[in-house]
Symmetry: D2
Subunit: 330 residues, 4 copies
């Protein structure tokens, strides 16, 4: 009821504050007998970690997970899988000065209004570190949907704009996930420049999901599009969600839209139709700007680190709906 659990058949229950002992998650509903790889899980966490993307942050953060339950001799047991990552970087003296400094766009003030108490040393539950739980959940979800590929691409960052997504999505577009690899150095320079100036930027991301069988999603409230929307908008800095043509739909007549089924983004009536699913989100710029933003630990743009989180949430939704559908099929 406090909204720390997401998913029904496959669910993640997240816990931990940014400056407490650690961040953890209980992943429940993973079928038994699936192969688990700690290396693969650590790899996913590394994609989300700072230090990956030169220029976005200089904070050293060690995301080595400890699996507390649910795995035995390299396989899932079918029991709840708990994973914990310790917070190693609790420099509380750095944060003391921001005790009553409520940052615009952050949860600082609203948390106080809601609870009447908060761990002032950092973002608490509203910190970006909470997304570690999501990435872990996404890894286990991927075991349930081994044939489905989920790939996120940064389609807009300041002057860098690209609507054409790649046809072959298996390629690796890290560290910026911009669909034109030739511009990697330019983007890097742009980010370093933002950092130097204490400025920040948001941008746009599109996700392609390939290999989803037709028939996932429920016709009323748990439409597949609705669960994707909740999953992605629940990520801190995400401020818009659309699928298929999205907002462009407001500009086109019905006769035009009906011509190409792909305009519907892989879902009709809220149910997957077997085509590629296309999801789009917008990120706001990170709120910390000015002198503070020039310090080491701040990202001038969160998108590169957020893409693994987006992908994880999409995988959780898909695994959840796949398990649901499996129960009802005769």
């Amino acid at each position: 009821m406090r909204g720390n659990t997401f998913g029904k058949m496959l669910s993640i229950t997240s816990f931990g504050e940014s400056h407490g002992a650690g961040i953890g998650v209980v992943v429940d509903g993973v079928p038994p007998g699936l192969d688990f790889s700690l290396d693969n899980l650590a790899d996913e966490l590394l994609r989300r970690a700072p230090g990956q993307v030169a220029g976005t942050t200089s904070r050293k953060e060690e995301d080595y997970p400890e699996v507390l339950s649910g795995i035995f001799e390299g396989k899932t047991l079918g029991t709840p899988i708990a994973v914990l990552i310790r917070n190693t970087n609790q420099r509380s003296k750095d944060y003391e000065k921001i005790k009553s400094d409520y940052r615009p766009g952050h949860a600082d003030e609203t948390t106080m209004k809601k609870y009447g108490i908060r761990d002032h040393r950092g973002g608490g539950r509203s910190s970006g570190r909470e997304t570690i739980a999501r990435v872990i959940g996404g890894y286990f979800a991927s075991l349930v949907i081994p044939k489905i590929i989920v790939k996120g691409f940064m389609t807009k960052l300041g002057p860098f704009v690209m609507k054409d997504l790649p046809k072959i999505i298996e390629d690796d577009f890290a560290p910026y996930y911009f669909p034109d690899k030739n511009r990697t150095k330019e983007i890097r320079d742009y980010l370093l420049d933002l950092k130097k100036n204490g400025e920040s930027r948001g941008g746009s991301v599109s996700l392609i999901v390939r290999g989803v069988p037709a028939g996932l999603g429920e016709p009323a409230f748990d439409k597949l599009k609705a669960d994707f929307a909740k999953a992605l908008i629940s990520i801190g800095a995400v401020v818009s969600f659309s699928f298929g043509l999205g907002e462009e739909m407001a500009n086109l007549p019905g006769s035009e839209v009906s011509k190409d089924r792909r305009n519907f983004g892989g879902m009709e009536g809220g149910i997957s139709n077997g085509e590629d699913i296309l999801l789009n989100v917008t990120f706001k710029p990170t709120s910390t700007v000015g002198e503070k933003a020039k310090e080491g630990r701040h990202d001038p743009c969160i998108i590169p680190r957020a893409i693994p989180v987006l992908e994880a949430m999409v995988k959780i939704v898909l695994a959840d709906h796949l398990l649901r559908q499996r129960a009802y099929e005769n």
Copy 2:
């Protein structure tokens, strides 16, 4: 698990196909002792009904609800409130010819792939008639949040575009909810023209929510923005959701965004901050075009009838979160 229930503390469980006996809803979690008015409920349903908006449809549909439970001597009992509306207009012969005619953008084909069976006489569970349940739920939600005002405005329809929302939102902008009442006749002519040509249009809607106390919404998955997203994207023709500046956030530097708190749309860290909440959605054009669309019962634009549905979903989310918050406050 089949996704026919929405909400936790205040929930709606919807049932009914477009061509079955009727559409109904069980509204659970309404506190006891609240004043119920059948007239007010019928008024809300009328706003959603066809025939309201000259030019959008000519189908006569009678939305007189029957309250089956939960009300006694004009007051809520605190028990589940079931409301039923009979389907009166089942001209099955009209629909027989579309039995294997899968409409693009509709759930016809995906329903068959999902269930292996469907009521081919109409949209079934995926019909727009399902939104009756939502409007009824919204009415009962409004009893829980009497001081909160929720108003939807059509901000774009074809050539009609208006970003400036009214400051005094209590005024009545029906039947088109376009913020400039002087253009009502123009819009009407535009819709009649679409109809005549068998064309359809989508568009944009913004909702202003005034009077929400600070502190609603949960910091992780049940962020207020995430529950709004799910609630609104779960409506059939909605293809995008954003709040505050929305997609415009991709174009602005952080230094600019942080200047005005209103850019965050009334929610920070996913929790209401006491300011007006601003939500934005896009509707795709209705899929039926050409000769069929010229027949009586089709809407060239669904937005005017959908605005009461959007408002209802927003009210349900707010009432749900208000009851949650009330439980945990000391």
Copy 3:
């Protein structure tokens, strides 16, 4: 959250007060394509209805259900199935005199303390009529578990006591479900005598469940035994639940108990082991005694009419757990 929904993968959402328009239920999670028979559903309801058991009541109650949704051309659609039974016998003048007459063992007073309002014309939500929703749910559950047999037997009523349950459970032991059919007339006379004297009796029921595959039930909170307990204790007059040897377990040493696996009642570690499941419940005597109890509509013993309700709840639990298990099996 108001506890009007039971079950997860297959759920029933019940609504209706005893003296409102009717009693209804939304059964969600029934797979698509299953054969529906209105006759069979009506038969199940008839088993629960008064007038079946000569001597237990003289009230005429017509339990003809109306299916509002979820069925098309004799098959389940996979969408929510709503069923309504009108209350036909609202003789409100009869009930007016009991407005402030709080019956011991009934919900009259606790309902007022809880809600501050109640429909004083009868039991409201706490009426035995609410069990109609359960019987309907049980019918649809039985479509999901066609090979499982669930049979309830009255093992104690006043002087009639029988611990030996029949080996062949398919036989019909109606109307009293006492395992010795030779004593039917005696029981009938005993009940008529109770009625004449304005007295009431409780008693004991055992249920045998045959054909349950091993592996149903979850190891922690949703143990199969725990869900049976909740399902059966949630019925109005049930005051105890046990399985297998039950309370007799307190009298036996471990060496004795371990000798025969059947002592565990078909569940080990809360999970079905493939053996017959044995469940036992106790009913309290109905609270209405004295002059009032001599009037037509009161049952001197509720057990004969309650056995179909017990069976229905057991079926719902089993169908729910079967669907759950199906989702997770590879």
Copy 4:
């Protein structure tokens, strides 16, 4: 959906196998600003730990909990509280020999049938160690219901039988919780004797709950009695549940039962009536008997250690229902 979460407004999500890294729990829904005491939590865990009760076990088990989240400067934050207890005593060589030795009455075989895989080193999820999570949950629940007293008493163990419960329940009846303190030495000798002979015993427990306000519990499926039943029957060795007069109700006429409201055990219509609540459960004897049972780590009777677990589950149910009721009260 895997049944590792219990409760709605206040919930516990349990994880951990007996021979994995540890046992843990996420307690969600605890209101913010409540005083937390690690000492008090450890005290509760100690009551459940072996080594407390001379004669019942000789295993040394250290139940020092680590709080991972949700507490800041001695107060609850309103965020999920995760607590972990490491498994310190994993002598896997001891357990290797029981790899394919399925114990009667245990989950060994049913776990294999359910999952096709199991951690054979011990009881896994079905181990008694899982109850650590419940005791932790119960501690946090007690913060929500500071005025309610929950006390369990052993009313039957072999020849020791006592139906008269104490009137003043605040006294400490540890270590055996038998209502006659004078017989403590006798019980101790009896247990030592059982141990020496490799025998085991179950028995009976009654719980008195004092200070519950009228109005808790919901009238249909979430009756207070039904949630107590699920909570207590979900504990491993519990085989029966009743409240008030319980099974004795089968022997009494209605005229007798109605005379004393206390016969209903503090709940009418499934809703608390403000009187003391009386709950009764039966424990089966532990299944391990013979030579194995003579080894150090086995309990000849689990009841003394189980009573804190019973109390914890009762507290969780009450705190959950109190928060629910608070939400709906005007």
